[in-house]
Amino acid sequence: MIRCRRLGNPVAFSYCRIENKGLPCSMIMDCWYDHFMIEDFLRQELTPDEWDRVFNQPLKPKVLSLVELIEQAKKAKEETQ
């Protein structure tokens, strides 16, 4: 177990590995690099596309993330109506 810096409670590696909708948490390297060869492991586990989706995405300002979620929620609302 390590303490998850996002959640604030202990988590096992199995959680970090699938936290991001089945893909690893984008901070998994930060949290696990000192415990085992995490990069080697993930290079074998992930396709190049999956690797890019997890680790090479542009960091978004929080406000932008919220704007995107608002747009998604508006669509969900329209579909419901």
């Binding site: 390590i2 303490r3 604030g8 969900a76």
Partner: protein
């Protein structure tokens, strides 16, 4: 007799918050809307935030009045006491004077109500009837639940399922204050339903919980959303702490040479540090340290992108090295240049050289927390232990240099509902050393039964 606690009378409670945006050496620019390419404006955020908070988010005013109704509630626990950590000083045999600001005396046990209360107030004024939010372990959710109770607002909290199952006491706190707390992913939103359709046993994530909370705010009647960190108005509200510290340091007859706070999203750090950053901008010599968890050193060496400044969509380059236990991390101060989810203002001030970032490994933080508990008595929140670890480093450095420095740190919350984390540490279940091979295989076996992404192929250890 030595004076242990420095109190401020309620009449000295600050009447204004301090807005660092007015003094930023590098002005903050609004991010660009991904759809229009124009700066994000108030109307873009209006579906989830009331206009009075959006105005604060972008306000250039240096000081903003604290409403009387908020001050009345602040007085339940504010002004908070500042302590001199004599016992810790003696234990460390340091000539340094160590002061800590006790933000754990709020009813929710942390600094979080400094912003949850004004956010609930401004929502109430704007006509909001219901506020939604997400929470991990529950510190923010419980603070917002309490604030909503004060203003008669309905509070809906989406708590990440893995935390919901692990942290029943925080959930019970939220429910005691009248909030409706559900495990995320839930069946109540399209975002949650979509995740559950793919994986009914999903343990959830903060990302999913945020999606649910925002959707619930957008689709719910008279509903808005509230965030406990990162945003400018959150940092603003937290400065009531640092403004009190300035008055208390004056009463003590000291001024800090070093200010330390733990830094995740940045709000507790900013609250204590920003008023002193202003002093530093105006010529004071202060070492202001934001402490974060240790990160992968290879991710701290290359070019960096910042959460706040990504308006040109810089992609972070992540040169990956093969790392193992034998790897000697590079000096971690470089880690301060890469922040996921940290407040843009804090990140920019680090870039401007007004704040420096340091990182400490997990076990050192818990050891520091134990030392603090056994000398000063208080059991700290694990996040707060990061600050204490850095205080101990700085106090030892002062001893070695023979300097009588004045160190001030923000004791951001107690750990009385985090005892499972201490238990794990004391039983040797937390570690920051190499994972034994059998433990790796056990972890991989754990995920074997879970749904895998497409093109999954198992790796070899």
């Amino acid at each position: 007799m030595e004076v242990k606690k420095i109190f401020l009378p309620e009449s000295e409670l600050p009447r204004q918050w301090y807005n660092i945006l007015a003094d930023m050496p590098t002005p903050m620019e609004p991010p660009l809307h991904p759809g229009t390419g124009k700066p994000v404006g108030p109307e873009d955020l209006a579906p989830i935030f009331p206009m009075n908070l959006i105005e604060q988010e972008v306000s250039p005013k240096r000081f903003i009045d604290i409403p009387e109704e908020v001050l009345k509630i602040y007085t339940i626990w504010r002004p908070t006491p500042m302590y001199r950590a004599y016992n810790l000083e003696k234990f460390l045999k340091t000539p340094a004077k160590i002061y800590f600001k006790n933000e754990g005396v709020s009813p929710a046990g942390s600094h979080k109500p400094n912003t949850s209360v004004p956010q609930a107030y401004y929502n109430k004024v704007a006509g909001t009837k219901r506020i939604t939010t997400e929470t991990g372990a529950g510190q923010w959710g419980s603070a917002l639940a309490m604030a909503c109770a004060f203003f008669g607002l309905e509070c809906k909290v989406y708590m990440v399922k893995i935390s919901y199952n692990q942290k029943p006491y925080r959930r019970i706190m939220m429910e005691t204050w009248g909030a409706n707390c559900v495990a995320s992913p839930s069946t109540e939103t399209k975002a949650g339903q979509s995740i559950l359709a793919q994986n009914p046993d999903s343990p959830g994530s903060l990302g999913i919980a945020i999606s649910e909370a925002v959707e619930s705010a957008v689709t719910g009647k008279d509903s808005k959303y509230s965030l406990g960190s990162v945003l400018n108005h959150v940092m603003l509200h937290q400065t009531v702490n640092g403004l009190e510290c300035q008055k208390q340091m004056a009463i003590a007859g000291d001024y800090p040479d070093v200010i330390i706070g733990c830094c995740g999203g940045g709000s507790n750090f900013a609250g204590c540090a920003f008023p002193f950053v202003r002093d530093k901008i105006n010529g004071k010599k202060i070492d202001i340290i934001a402490v974060e968890p240790l990160s992968c050193p290879t991710m701290t060496r290359g070019p960096f992108a910042y959460d706040f400044g990504d308006t040109v969509m810089m992609t972070p380059l992540l040169p990956m090295h093969t790392l193992g236990h034998s790897f000697v991390p590079a000096p971690i101060h470089a880690g301060g240049l890469r922040y996921h989810g940290m407040a843009p203002t804090v990140s920019q001030l680090i870039l401007d050289g007004l704040i420096r970032a340091e990182a400490v490994p997990q076990l050192e933080t818990f050891q520091a927390g134990i030392t603090f508990a056994r000398t000063e008595g208080f059991i700290s929140a694990p996040e707060t232990d990061h600050a204490i670890a850095m205080v101990i480093r700085e106090a030892i450095k002062a001893r070695e240099e023979g300097k009588q420095k004045v160190i001030l740190f923000n004791w951001s919350g107690h750990g009385l509902v985090d005892m499972a984390a201490y238990d794990a540490y004391l039983k040797g279940k937390l570690f920051d050393h190499a994972l034994p091979e059998e433990e790796i295989h056990r972890a991989l076996n754990d995920i074997e039964k879970l749904p895998k992404p497409k093109q999954y192929k198992p790796g070899k250890i």
